[in-house]
């Protein structure tokens, strides 16, 4: 991906990421999150991960975020009132975050070879990346796949148990 486009999407993604955090209205936060994920999906596609880009939009921006919005609506959450800041917590949080960024930057730029352009890939293998991911999933990763099935069952049972008004 050409650099300008990359940077646009990155800034797009980060800006809405920040908006998730700073918006006082939960709905606005959720919407920002959706947009942020769109940017993220674009970045996936820029990395030739088309399948994941689509999944990202379908699952995340589509399903998960709708779930979020739905819950926010259901609970009728209002915008957070402006309250006095807990200065110590604020300060502490920011310090921790800044220090963490410092670590991240050090680590990222210490990565050898990361400054080179990505190696070229051949687009003419015949199967798209969806096929490739699928093959890996059902061959090499069939055990985790079964496990994730169990996980989803547990999650759905759990969600029902916890949110159903009256159990029977």
């Amino acid at each position: 991906m050409p650099a300008p486009l990359f940077w646009i999407f990155v800034i797009f993604m980060l800006f809405f990421g920040v908006m998730v955090v700073v918006n006082r209205s939960p709905v606005a936060s959720a919407m920002s999150l959706v947009v942020c994920f769109l940017g993220l999906a674009a970045l996936y596609i820029s990395l030739d991960a088309f399948f994941l880009g689509v999944i990202q939009i379908l699952v995340y921006a589509g399903a998960v975020m709708v779930l979020f919005l739905f819950i926010i609506m259901l609970l009728d959450l209002k915008a957070e009132q402006r309250r006095r800041f807990n200065l110590i917590a604020m300060f502490g949080g920011i310090v921790v975050v800044v220090l963490f960024v410092k670590v991240l930057v050090d680590v990222c730029y210490g990565f050898q070879g990361g400054n080179a352009v990505f190696p070229a890939i051949s687009h003419n293998v015949g199967h798209g990346d969806t096929w490739q991911v699928g093959m890996a999933l059902f061959q090499q990763y069939k055990l985790p796949l079964q496990m994730i099935g169990a996980l989803v069952v547990v999650a759905s049972v759990g969600a029902v148990l916890l949110s159903k008004r009256e159990l029977k």
Binding site: Y141, L143, L161
Partner: protein
């Protein structure tokens, strides 16, 4: 027999029970628990007496440690189910339901699914499998912790566990990312092979990833400073689930931690830094868990702090990874920990049910109300404190031994102090049971047959492990 079958059987058992739960309305829910217990016991027997060829599935191993931890998970789940039967009245009280048995069946069957996750964790040597099984366990615990949702404490605990658990998952995943990014592998065996060829400039990133993985696992095993969820969640969660968390989840965390560290041993530069990190964690955990337990007045919370403290001793053994018997020390310690912690919780459930509370003062005069429970809890406390001729001592002994062997003198000094603290707070319970007189109700406490057998078996096992160290020494053979 294919090793993978075991988890599938457990999974099928759990799902089957869920089905029974939904379609057999009239069925006494305790039957579900009993079926679960019997089913798990069968799997345990299968595991004990069956033979398992080496696994052919990538990222899934069936070594001694894996087998041990599977048995460990099974026993834990069985005892948790037994506890749950005693606890079902409380669950009933705190669950919205139109029928009196609402939710009980799920309360019995979810732990079985969790158990499958724990068993997978025991065998996982690939970060993908580790991650998924870990999440399977975590997600089911989110549900279980918040299960008694008319109890605000339970919900609060659930929320805290959820947020902090997800936070730790975030770090864990990010750590995996970095490890993958640098080694181009998620399989621990392959990572171990690749590591020596990692250029020095990439070691920082690798270390960063490994540290974040340790952070995620540290959260699971309740290592300071990632232990803050533990007291609150333990206190708020339904007691059998607390027991499950404190035994099953922790043990699974330790096996994964051991496997990860084992993989990193092939690169000494990283390994030394990681073990230094573990030393720091161990010291902090020992100090935090044991010291903060000193002023506790709530027994359940006390057990939470004690659980942190024991994580400290376990980390001490992990930090001594170079020593001959370090793995054995962890295993023996966990086995002892299982016996004594579950014993404490099962007694706690019975006493709390009859005393309407789980403060230490509710144990006042227990020796009169139920000499059997009092004596059992006495044994549990003695074992937790590390009195010789109990299982807890054998664990502590091995931990100190491996720590000395790998010259972790800082940890030893800290541990000496914390063992002293441990005596204080465990004996506080003994004091309540034996010195104090009952403040509230004086009636004798009934104990169901199943619980009596379980308690008796645990007491006997605690002694057997303490008196015959070969039982512990043979755990990995």
């Amino acid at each position: 027999m294919s090793p993978i079958l075991l988890e599938l059987i457990v999974l099928a058992l759990g799902l089957g029970l869920l089905l029974i739960e939904s379609f057999a309305d009239r069925l006494n829910r305790n039957i579900i628990a009993i079926i679960g217990i019997i089913g798990l016991a069968c799997v345990f027997l299968l595991l004990q007496f069956g033979s398992f060829p080496a696994s052919e599935v990538a990222g899934y191993t069936q070594d001694k440690a894996a087998l041990f931890f599977k048995k460990f998970a099974l026993i834990t789940t069985i005892i948790v189910l037994i506890m749950s039967i005693d606890y079902s009245d409380t669950v009933r009280k705190f669950v919205h339901g139109i029928t009196p048995q609402a939710g009980i069946g799920e309360f019995y069957s979810l732990p079985i699914l969790t158990c499958a996750g724990l068993m997978w964790m025991a065998s996982a040597t690939d970060f993908v499998i580790i991650f998924i099984s870990l999440e399977l366990v975590t997600v089911s615990f989110y549900t279980l912790v918040a299960f008694t949702r008319r109890n605000p404490a339970s919900l609060e605990a659930g929320a805290k566990y959820l947020i902090l658990g997800a936070l730790s998952t975030g770090f864990f995943v990010y750590g995996i990312t970095w490890i993958y990014g640098i080694t181009q592998n998620t399989n621990l065996t392959s990572i171990a092979k690749v590591l020596p060829s990692i250029p020095v400039s990439n070691q920082t990133g690798l270390l960063f990833g490994a540290m974040l993985v340790i952070v995620g696992l540290g959260f699971k095993v309740a290592a300071a400073p990632f232990q803050f969820w533990v007291p609150d969640v333990y206190q708020g969660a339904p007691t059998p689930i607390t027991a499950f968390l404190s035994v099953g989840s922790k043990a699974a965390g330790f096996i994964v931690l051991l496997r990860v560290l084992e993989a990193f041993q092939s690169l000494p530069a990283i390994e030394s830094k990681l073990s230094f990190a573990i030393v720091l964690l161990a010291a902090a955990t020992l100090v935090y868990g044991n010291l903060a337990a000193l002023p506790q007045t709530n027994f359940k919370r006390l057990l939470a702090y004690s659980s942190i403290g024991h994580a400290g001793y376990l980390l001490m053994a992990v930090a001594s990874f170079g020593a001959l018997d370090a793995g054995l020390a962890v295993v023996v310690y966990l086995a002892a920990y299982l016996l004594m912690t579950l014993l404490s919780f099962i007694v706690l459930i019975i006493v709390a049910k009859n005393s309407e509370g789980d403060d230490i003062t509710h144990f006042n005069g227990l020796s009169k109300r139920s000499p059997f429970l009092a004596f059992s809890l006495l044994i549990a406390m003695a074992s937790l404190a590390g009195v010789p001729l109990t299982a807890g001592f054998l664990g502590k002994f091995l931990v100190f031994k491996v720590a000395f062997e790998s010259q972790q003198f800082l940890l030893i000094v800290v541990a000496i102090v914390t063992v002293g603290c441990g005596f204080y707070y465990y004996l506080k319970v003994v004091r309540a049971m034996y010195w104090q007189t009952t403040t509230g109700t004086q009636t004798a406490i009934p104990v169901s047959l199943l619980s009596t057998i379980t308690i008796g078996a645990l007491v006997v096992l605690i002694f057997l492990f303490g008196i015959f160290p070969q039982l512990g020494a043979g755990l990995l053979s």
